[in-house]
Amino acid sequence: MSQQQTKNTITLRGSAQIICEYLNFAINSVLFQRGLYPPEMFKAEQQYGITLLISEDAQIKSFLTNLLKQSEEWIINKKVSKLSLIILNVANKEVLECWDFNVQYEEGDVALSKEKNETVGTKDLKKIQQEIRDVMLQVAATISYLPFLDCRCSFDVLVHAKTDCDVPEKWAEAEPVSIANAQNVQLKTFSTSLHKMETVVSYKLAD
């Protein structure tokens, strides 16, 4: 009886880890799909039942680990409402594309949470992963309609945190970005029963 229970419950930390794992793969996938870095810098990895490409560049790796470590803490403490991956033109700092990862907080299994004195959810991990896979496939498919990036581009990740959140070391406040004449495309959402992740890509509509 006790074994079965642990199998189906997802703790708050575990849910945040799933979210951050998704973010890692999604950001890497976008970097690969949008051609920000040469393809030989990526290596294939099996995840969620599909092959995903992960950057092997040391700089990108360290950046993402630092980012996601902090983000995980914030997500656990419900400080973050959105993470935005922005792709900008290096020459004039113009934002060309914005991938919004909206995080919404859910109740999970209320009865079980009371019983265990800790917020937990009861959703099958396989189902969550299947949902994530659907989103990743959609991300890969966006390349067919997103405009071609024909300039020297780079990326940044902006974390939309609550105002009472402390700014840790190595972090800085940034200006919120907006794309003029933007086109929004909402991708599928997935939920871990504690967190709901909504992925939206907005891009500059070609003139």
Partner: protein, 719 residues
């Protein structure tokens, strides 16, 4: 006894599990002891029981007593005791005993049951122990079998190793045998070699002795040779002295030959001088001859001077004539336009005469014979014309006045017509006003009538009320009044109908049109509204989404060293570097391009160029000089000068040729060289025939030609 044995065995078995079931051994012992007691007491109880039973059942049945002879003995004894009738005390005591016994029985039974339970537990424990032991046993067996397998494997391996060892030993033995054999062979070989060595030593000694003999012989021969050498040396010294003599002789000879050559040279010079002297002599002779002709020449000179003077005069005359010719020609040129004018004047005169003739004929036709009458006639005609023109101008002024009058009249007429029109409109207005007033008048008259009627009615009423109040009369009056009023009403209605129908219909139509127009407008506006609403909804949705995506009360954070910032920094650096480079390049360009940036290099290149030029020049000089030298050498050695006149064409001229035109032409062909026909070659028919056609050798031909020419020139010189 058996029971006791059982218990001891039980105890023994139990001993190791006491710890397991947490029972104290002394207690157990006690229980064992109690059990022993229990066995005794059991017996005693049974006795008591049987006693009681016998007491109770004696009268009822004897059969059961018979079946147990062991007990019967006791019953007998008890029966013996109970044979006497029991006294009340005894009975009492028996009863007490019975009660006590019964209590004991119950206690003992409880004990028995307790013991049973203990035994069962023990059994269970035993069984568990047994099963565990069985398992242990099985495990041991399995381990044993494994070990046996292992042992077998080890044995097999040992066997294999042993076999290997045996084989190795065998091999070792074989190797040993082989090596022994080889050793013996080698020993044999060593022996043989020793023998050979001995033999060789012996032979060597023989050879040495022989060689010594040879040496002695050779030494003797050497001594002989040395003596010979000394002899030869002496000879050589003699020969050298002779050679020296010879050389001195030779030098003397050379000197003499040199002197001879000098003498011959002098001789030649002298000969040449003699030749030149002969020439001088001849020239002197000719000069003398010319001197003898001097006088004639002087005469001729005088004659020639005279002719020269005459020629000079002629030249002067010619110049004069030329001047005259020039003057005349200029005059002719001046006269030519005058002549042309003359011609033109003649033509004009002819034309004027013809016109005069025409005039005359015209005058004759008008009956005027003389010029004066013509003039008077003309004057009269002119005056009449003047009067006519004056009349004409008068008439024209009158016409202008008339047209002005007409214009003023027209203007007035227009004014009058406009006034008329105004008046007409005024009249129309007046008419309409009149019409309206008439209608009003009509209305007013009607109203007046109705008022009059009403007044009449009132008067009547008043008269009626004044006359007397009768119910029937009043009713009739009222009804009459009602009728009147109704009539009046009807009249009003008719009036209204007649009056307002047209205006009303017009108005209605207008209103209808307006209504329909407004309706259409409303419809279109509604449609617009719907459209705008839909637009608003979509925009609101959009706004909501935007609001959702950009919730307020958040702050945006990012890692300070993000890839975008790094890339921008890198880009900035690149840009600065590029701009720096551009600046440098521009500066370099301003300073004069490549000269500034590579002054040393250009200097070097220039030097190189100069060096190359010098080298080239030297090479050219060298080449031309060597070519010249080669040509000179060829000329000197072979006697022919070879010139290349064109492609594959060569002209050769001999050293001893009589003139420069005597040359031969050759052409290089694919299969050798061919002589081309020239004027000179045609004179050498014999040689060509012999050497070229017969011998087919150009060098031979040329040599022969040289020989011939040489002989010819030397012959000439000799002559």
């Amino acid at each position: 006894m058996a029971k006791e044995g059982d218990m001891s065995l039980f105890n023994d078995v139990l001993e190791p599990f006491r710890r397991v079931i947490n029972t104290d051994p002394p207690k157990d012992k006690l229980s064992a002891a109690s059990k022993l007691n229990f066995s005794d007491s059991n017996q005693s109880i049974k006795e008591g029981l049987s006693n009681l039973l016998t007491l109770g059942k004696r009268k009822s049945s004897i059969g059961p007593e018979m079946s147990t002879p062991d007990k019967r003995m006791r019953t007998d004894s008890s029966s013996n005791v109970a044979s006497a009738p029991p006294s009340p005390w005894e009975a009492k005591r028996l009863k007490i005993d019975l009660i006590a016994a019964k209590a004991q029985i119950s206690k003992l039974e409880a004990r028995v049951s307790h013991q049973h339970t203990i035994r069962k537990e023990m059994q269970i424990l035993f069984e568990e122990e047994k099963t565990s032991l069985m398992e242990q046993h099985k495990r041991d067996e399995r381990a044993l079998s494994d070990m046996e397998d292992r042992l077998q494997v080890v044995r097999r391996r040992e066997q294999e190793l042993r076999d290997e060892f045996n084989e190795a030993m065998k091999e070792h033995k074989e190797y040993k045998a082989n090596w022994d054999r080889e050793k013996t062979e080698l020993h044999k070989q060593i022996g043989e070699l020793k023998e050979k060595l001995l033999e060789a030593n012996v032979s060597n000694k023989d050879q040495i002795s022989e060689m010594k003999k040879d040496m002695d012989e050779l030494l003797q021969a050497l001594e002989g040779a040395q003596s010979e050498v000394e002899m030869l040396k002496k000879e050589v010294t003699r020969q050298t002295s002779r050679a020296e003599q010879c050389t001195t002789l030779k030098t003397q000879l050379e000197k003499q030959t040199f002197e001879l050559q000098q003498v011959t040279n002098k001789l030649k010079e002298l000969e040449y001088e003699r030749d030149s002297y002969k020439d001088w002599q001849q020239q002197a002779k000719t000069a003398q001859k010319r001197l003898s002709n001097m006088a004639e020449l002087e005469k001729e000179v005088v004659r020639l001077k005279a002719t020269e003077r005459s020629l000079r005069d002629a030249v002067c005359n010619k110049l004069l004539l030329e001047e005259q010719v020039h003057q005349l020609s200029s005059r002719v040129e001046a006269l030519q336009p005058v002549q042309q004018e003359l011609h033109e004047a003649k033509v004009k005169i002819a034309s004027l005469e013809s016109s005069l003739e025409e005039w005359k004929t015209a005058a004759r036709n008008h009956g005027v014979e003389t010029a004066r009458s013509l003039a008077s006639a003309l004057d009269s005609a002119l005056s009449s014309q003047l009067t006519a023109t004056a009349g004409c101008s008068q008439a024209q002024s009158q016409l202008a006045q008339l047209t002005e009058d007409i214009a003023t009249i027209k203007y007035e007429r227009d004014k009058a017509t406009t006034k008329l029109n105004d008046l007409v409109t005024v009249r129309k207005n007046q008419e309409s006003l009149i019409h309206r007033l008439q209608k009003r008048l009509l209305l007013v008259t009607r109203e007046r009538d109705s008022y009059r009627q009403q007044l009449d009615c009132y008067e009547k009423e008043l008269s009626v009320t004044l006359c007397g109040e009768t119910g029937a009369g009043s009713a009739a009056l009222l009804s009459a009044r009602v009728e009147q009023l109704e009539k009046a009403l009807q009249g009003y209605r008719d009036l209204l109908a007649t009056h307002d129908q047209q205006a009303h219909t017009k108005m209605v139509e207008n209103l209808r049109n307006e209504v329909s127009k407004w309706r259409e407008e409303a419809e279109s506006l509604r449609r617009d509204v719907q459209k705008i609403r839909a637009q608003r909804d979509t925009l609101q949705l959009h706004m909501e989404r935007l609001d959702r995506s950009q919730p307020p009360q958040t702050k945006v954070l990012h890692l300070a060293d993000n890839p975008a910032a790094l890339a921008q920094k890198q880009f900035q650096l690149d840009l600065e570097a590029a701009q720096e480079e551009i600046k440098q390049l521009k500066a370099a360009l301003r300073e004069g391009g490549s000269r500034a940036c590579s002054d040393a290099e250009t200097q070097q290149l220039r030097q190189q160029l100069e060096n190359r030029d010098i080298k080239l020049k030297r090479m050219k000089e060298e080449f031309t000089s060597s070519a010249q030298e080669y040509r000179d050498v060829c000329y000197m050695l072979l006697g022919y000068k070879i010139d290349r006149t064109g492609h594959k064409n060569y002209r050769i001229s001999n050293m001893y040729a009589e003139s420069a035109d005597d040359y031969l032409t050759f052409k290089l062909c694919d299969d050798g060289i061919e002589m081309v026909h020239t004027d000179y070659s045609s004179t050498l028919g014999e040689l060509v025939e012999l050497h070229l056609h017969h011998h087919r050798s150009i060098p031979l031909f040329l040599s022969a030609l040289t020989m011939e020419l040489f002989t010819r020139t030397t012959m000439q010189q000799d002559q």
